[in-house]
């Protein structure tokens, strides 16, 4: 194939142009898309002493979480439902219904978590008894150290 000078220059322009564009695009895209692969940097939060949680009675615990928000550190008031059946093993639920995120509450008369928005009911293990939620209650990671209860308030799907 024979190309004349004019065509050669044309192809060179496209080639060099693409090269310049790509070398700028690579860092720009890395910068712009970086939130996608940024790891969550939440930390374990101290909830309270483990023996203050009554057995077989879901308890709502409020806590303050310090977390990084970009270049700032913010404090947020949050809460979680803590359930224990033996005072040794604990389950902590995210306090939002898995249907549309309404806050639910414990109804001891009905022995279940009730969501007021669409009348969903969950049992003490977080399983859906009735209503529209697509999955059981979401849980947080939990650990007990020296009788102290710690929570890692990142969502973990049940």
């Amino acid at each position: 194939m024979e190309i004349d000078r004019r065509d050669f220059l044309k192809y060179s322009i496209w080639g060099l142009g693409c090269f310049i564009g790509a070398s700028l695009f690579a860092p720009a895209a890395t910068y712009f898309l970086s939130p996608v692969w940024k790891e969550s940097d939440l930390d374990w939060v101290f909830l309270g002493k483990a023996d203050t949680i009554p057995v077989d009675k879901p308890t709502k615990v409020d806590f303050v979480q310090r977390r990084k928000d970009g270049w700032m550190t913010v404090e947020e008031r949050r809460s979680a439902w803590v359930v224990t059946k033996n005072g040794k093993e604990f389950t902590i639920f995210d306090p939002h219904c898995t249907h549309l995120g309404c806050p639910y509450r414990w109804d001891s008369a009905k022995n279940g978590f009730l969501c007021p928005c669409h009348a969903a009911v969950f049992d003490m293990n977080g399983n859906v008894i009735s209503g529209p939620p697509p999955r059981p209650l979401d849980r947080y990671a939990v650990k007990v150290e020296n009788g102290k209860l710690w929570v890692l308030p990142t969502l973990k799907r049940a």
């Binding site: 220059l9 322009i13 060099l16 310049i20 700028l24 310090r66 990084k68 270049w71």
Partner: protein, 537 residues
Amino acid sequence: MRTVLGWFQNRFGWPDIQQTLLDRKIPRPGKWAWAYTLGSATLAVFLLQIITGVLLGMNYSPSPDHAYESIRYIMTQVPMGAFIRGLHKWGASVMIVLIFLHLFRVYVMASYKAPRELTWIAGIFLLLGAFGLGFTGYLLPWDQKAYWATAVGANISSQAPFLGPAVATVLKGGAELGALTLTRFYAFHVLALPIFMVLFIGIHLFLVVYHGISAPPQARGEKAPDYKELKAKGKSFFPYSVFKDVVMVLLVFAVIFFLSAHFGADLEDPADPTDSSYNPRPEWYFLFLFQSLKLFPGSLEYLAAIVLPTLMLLFLIFIPFMDRGEKRHPFARPFWIGGGCVVAGFVVLLSYQGWKSPLVNPRIERNPLVLQGQRIYGELHCAHCHSIKGEGGNVGPDLSTAVAGRSDEWLDEHFRKPQQMIHGSAMPELNLLDEEIQALIAYLRDIGGGGISYAKAAKIFEENCQTCHRLRGRGGDMGPRLDGIGNFHNGDWLKQYIQNPQSMNKDSEMPGFESTLNPEDIETLARFLSSQKRENP
């Protein structure tokens, strides 16, 4: 596919665009060909500034409380953030260089002559816009350089007669440099000036295409050839000129990429309006103005600050109407070339003097972690209970001495669970993040809980202790060996022991050093000894 493309081309009038823009003939530039690429290279760098600027804007917050931290976030946390900021910073400098080279090319060739006067004037406004972008841009990080260079810049304008002080107030958005200045400069830097630039680039380019790019000057004494004839004999803009433009852009970008990767963009300490040791220095392209102030002392300073620059600007704007006629070769215009060289030489000389002037700030590298720790210390109101060098509350211990004998691991644990480390401690659990704990430890170490001079400590040890004690294989055996003493005793205990051994152990035969050594030396010695640790005690 072709028909779809064809449809769009037809609807947008592509054939006409192609004919006027791409296929237009360019007079043969001869040996000057590469000088004709400076304008398009400047344009390319301007586009680079827009792209990197938009990216930086995604993580920047224009308020004195957040500006510095958000830039530091870009520099340390955002992937490629430091590189993107480097591109923006060096791109700005390279753009100014290219504008000056472009201006120089046009001036030497007298391309500003009829009918291209307005092209030139639009270009001068673009130069002003670029200066404005530079001046407003380097305030935004709100570091020392940003703050002080802007303070000086604003004060220069306040020296202008009559309206000067008012102009300075308007520039600052108030009487003082502060939050309102930052938002004002931000609005100019990212909104007003870029729009201004785009508008004038549009005018500039339209005029270049409409009048055609000027041909290289005819030889001295020759009559100017007919431009239309020259143009007809030339080659088309695309691909012949565009190819050279693209190669030039590639070179320029390579330089900017190198500068950014190699030197990066620095971030000094946060702006501190109370600092009296800082020597403000402007960006290099303002150095000639900065330096010229020194030539006009006292009440005449406004001559250098306002009058001279204004005269230079007016001179540039009105050149096309003063240097008239057909002569374009530089040697055929000795007056204008001579005058231009004198002015340019003066600017270069002043810039050089400014560059060389000894008022350079020593680069004191401060650990960014320490700065962060200092900030957290303030945010958490630690000073309600603790004092540092006498400043603060007295509920908790004085932190400038208390942490000396504690290891980093101990402090780390203590921040997490104070009561576990010191029974009955009134210090609350703060739920601090790992990173915050690291920063606080770094800060405490910086204010006096560490950083002893080992050379000095070793000398004190040699002069006072080595006769009886063995350390690292050297010394007498009258007293116990001190290797690993730090595993058993902290700095406070050791300090008391050195001062008065019998108060800690009444059987001790060691003499007290309270009267022989001054308190500072005892402190140093105690810290030195508390750091004598063995890996496996």
